[in-house]
């Protein structure tokens, strides 16, 4: 199963179980994996390059990954997907370590922004003609 799909499924299940911070974390991971799939398609790679060869691709920064895939998010303000991009851009791996409870709506927005029908993964899969 594709990694992003696994993370999306996990995020939805965690959200249903009210594990909001973990759902939020998994949704961001799903976007990271989807972006890396898009980079591979964009750069015509058949495997993920080693850190020594492409250090800039070994990042969790979604904006930098999007740029590497040829997507300039800042230029999408008139695209309906833009609020979803802004939302997933709030994702930080470090947030998963926070002990504060995360409100359901915040986690739901992250999951929908990543994995929803108007979310960034759906948008990426169509743009890059990847298997949904």
């Amino acid at each position: 199963m594709k990694l992003w799909r696994r993370h999306c499924q996990g995020a939805r299940q965690l959200l249903e179980g009210n594990s909001t911070a973990l759902a939020w974390f998994n949704a961001g991971m799903a976007v990271e994996c989807a972006l890396k799939a898009c980079i591979m398609a964009h750069l015509r790679l058949n495997r993920w390059p080693d850190r020594t060869l492409r250090k800039e691709l070994h990042t969790h920064d979604l904006r930098k990954l999007a740029l590497a895939a040829g997507v300039e998010i800042e230029k999408l303000s008139r695209d309906p997907v833009f609020p979803s991009w802004c939302t997933v851009h709030l994702w930080r791996r470090s947030e998963g370590y926070s002990s504060k409870p995360m409100p359901f709506r915040v986690a739901r927005d992250m999951v929908e922004g990543a994995c929803g029908l108007d979310g960034v993964i759906q948008w990426l899969m169509i743009r890059f003609r990847l298997d949904i």
Binding site: D61, S77, K100, R105, V106
Partner: protein, 158 residues
């Protein structure tokens, strides 16, 4: 300020953005420029209690709508606006920060979470320290404020 790392024009643009938000009816708990160490970029941090109740996506939807209708400055894309809830750990650290006014310093720098910012970059911050009592918005007032903001943005689009 000659040694200010904030790019030229950002401070003025942020001030215009703050004015635009107020005109639209969104009054942030805090708004300031900061260096985001995670992404290595400057971000405009907007702390609002609507984050928890309305969610980031709806706030971004309205900010984007306002941006596309030129109701907010063209230089401040919603994408560089980093939203936070006042109840998030990083926001609590920010809102409990106190700048010392003693000494002859040109500016004060603070590090909170992955954000670094200076006192000069702050447009508003309703500090929760002992000297300033901050009245928390009641749910009714918060809901009223949100309704006003949403209606103002949607009126622009009509």
């Amino acid at each position: 300020m000659a040694n200010d790392p904030l790019p030229s024009g950002y401070l003025e643009a942020g001030n215009d953005f703050f004015g635009a938000l107020k005109r639209l009816g969104l009054v942030p708990e805090a708004l300031f420029w900061a260096q985001d160490k995670t992404i290595d970029e400057f971000v405009l941090v907007l702390i609002t209690s609507h984050f928890d109740t309305k969610g980031p996506k709806e706030i971004y939807r309205l900010l984007t709508q306002a941006y596309n209708l030129a109701a907010t400055p063209a230089t401040i894309s919603p994408f560089i606006v980093r939203l936070h809830s006042p109840s998030q750990a990083i926001s609590e650290a920010i809102l409990h920060s106190e700048f010392s006014t003693s000494g002859n310093f040109a500016y004060f720098t603070l590090n909170r979470g992955d954000l670094t910012y200076r006192d000069k970059w702050i447009y508003t911050a309703k500090y929760k320290n002992g000297s300033v009592k901050v009245k928390k918005l009641s749910p009714v007032d918060r809901s009223r404020q949100w309704k006003r903001f949403k209606e103002n943005v949607e009126r622009l689009a009509a």
